[in-house]
């Protein structure tokens, strides 16, 4: 599936050198926006907008649950500073056109990536589920439940995970974890989404530098 890219600055999903950037056509019916402001264009099959922690509605506007067009949000999942994973989360609004979703799926699957579709909520699927878990692990660590390496080993040996929650959150960057958790917390008000103390410390230290 042919796609064109409009790009400004570095993309978290497709950093410089990523083969997805070189696979783009000069122009195509489906356009991928990497850091470029969105302009509606109904003549396109799909306009794919790279998202950070924000909702797609920030770019397109909303109309009380009736919004939707050929604009599809997306982000390739990335644990902070870790390299991007193979997962692309597509973001749809209630009335997003099915043909735009299909085009987005074809573009990313054509690049060898795994595609899922999420509603337009902060955290989408993965961060919505993992950030409260990392917060819980960091709080349990503060409470003295177990040592960090034992918590991580328990998850690796007991659940077969490739890594544990503490090592993963630390590797991705606790300041980044703070950013995502804060965005989730503003939306949900759930205590589990509030950044854990260690993330607050990392955030404050990063601001001092």
């Amino acid at each position: 599936m042919a796609y064109a890219i409009r790009r400004s600055g570095e993309s978290r999903s497709f950093p410089t050198g990523d083969s997805f950037l070189t696979g783009a056509a000069e122009d195509a019916d489906t356009v991928v926006l990497l850091g470029v402001p969105y302009e509606p264009d109904p003549s396109r099959r799909a306009i794919l907008i790279e998202l950070g922690t924000e909702c797609l509605g920030v770019h397109t506007g909303e109309s009380a649950g009736e919004e939707g067009s050929n604009a599809v949000g997306f982000a390739r999942y990335r644990n902070g500073d870790d390299p991007p994973s193979d997962l692309v989360e597509l973001v749809r609004q209630p009335n997003t056109e099915d043909r735009a979703i299909e085009a987005a799926r074809a573009v990313f699957e054509g690049a060898g990536l795994t595609v899922v579709v999420s509603a337009d909520r902060i955290g989408r699927i993965v961060d919505r589920l993992v950030r409260p878990k990392y917060n819980a692990a960091l709080r349990l660590l503060d409470d003295g439940l177990a040592r960090a390496e034992d918590m991580d080993m328990a998850c690796r040996l007991g659940l077969g995970y490739p890594d544990g929650p503490v090592e993963r959150a630390v590797r991705g960057g606790l300041a980044y974890h703070h950013e995502v958790s804060s965005a989730l917390f503003v939306q949900s008000g759930q205590p589990g989404d509030a950044p854990a103390r260690a993330a607050v410390v990392a955030r404050e230290r990063s601001e001092r530098r």
């Binding site: 994973s85 589920l129 819980a136 007991g158 077969g160």
Partner: protein, 292 residues
């Protein structure tokens, strides 16, 4: 080095108890397999024999070792048969009064120095030990399912557990070829404390229409490298069991993430218990998926 020679397993006809007995006998310990269910013990004995036979077939064990391990296992429905055990591990039903009654009954039967261990997933070790008469020699020893394959053991002392008893039990887990990690006497120890709320969050994501169960599972596997998505795992654990786990944690932790989601209760009421009923978040008879 462990001073423990002979091990008793209570609830040895059950899922966990039969696996724990295999771990013990395989590592060279005389193992008394106790259960109130005599028929269940017979069933467990033949399953154990098949497990060891497969281990030999797959080259993980030689025949002599298999025969020796099988000889070390002695099934019994009599509690008195545990009298000369150095360590008794209970894996009976997850019910505080059942576990307390068992340890109280065992106390006058077992040697004074014997250590009692509990495989509880959600109950307090201190509460299980309470009133048993040897509160200083009761430890938490939480194996993972399937116990005969998983190496991790979460070890937790109760408030009254002596360092000596804890260290002796720890040394036994290492001698049995397991990987112990130290945790505290808190609901769910490490694994379930993280897993039960995480799984409930996945159910709430389905309920909120964030994504289909299939996409939630795919996303978690692709992003994190997990072998199973949370909803596949809940289907395996059983949706009814997920409610029981939530009900064991929430009243103690008051963590809203641990509370059983409304959708989970509705699905159990609708008979969708997961794999065991053929349908949960995924359909195991057809290919349809439940939810958004």
């Amino acid at each position: 080095m462990t001073g423990i020679r002979k091990v008793g397993v209570c609830g040895a006809a059950g899922t966990m108890g039969s696996g724990i007995a295999i771990v013990s006998a395989r590592a060279g310990f005389e193992t008394v397999c106790h259960d109130v269910d005599g028929e269940g013990l017979e069933r467990a004995s033949s399953q154990t024999a098949s497990f060891f036979a497969r281990s030999v077939e797959r080259g993980r064990m030689i025949e002599e070792d298999r025969d020796a391990a099988l000889r070390r296992l002695s099934p019994t429905a009599e509690l008195d048969a545990l009298a000369d055990c150095d360590l008794v591990i209970e894996a009976v039903f997850e019910d505080l009064s059942t576990k307390q009654a068992l340890f109280r009954a065992l106390n006058p039967i077992c040697k004074d120095e014997a250590i009692f261990a509990s495989n509880t997933s959600t109950l307090s070790i201190t509460q299980i030990a309470s009133g048993c008469g040897r509160e200083d020699r009761v430890v938490g020893m939480h194996f993972c399912l399937p116990a005969q394959l998983m190496k991790l053991i979460e070890m937790s002392p109760g408030i009254n557990t002596s360092d000596e008893a804890f260290e002796a039990a720890w040394a036994w887990t290492e001698a049995a070829g397991q990987n112990p990690v130290r945790t505290q006497d808190r609901p769910g120890f490490i694994l379930n404390a993280l897993l039960v709320p995480f799984n409930n969050d996945a159910i709430r994501a389905v309920e909120a229409g964030i994504a289909s169960p299939a996409d939630i599972d795919t996303a978690i596997k692709a992003a994190l490298g997990y072998r199973m998505g949370p909803l596949e795992l809940i289907d395996l654990i059983g949706l009814d069991t997920q409610i029981l786990l939530s009900e064991a944690f929430y009243p103690i932790t008051l963590d809203p993430r641990a509370a059983a989601p409304a959708l989970l209760r509705r699905m159990v009421a609708a008979g969708r218990l997961g794999r065991k009923s053929g349908r949960g978040f995924h359909d195991y008879e057809g290919s349809a998926m439940y939810g958004a």
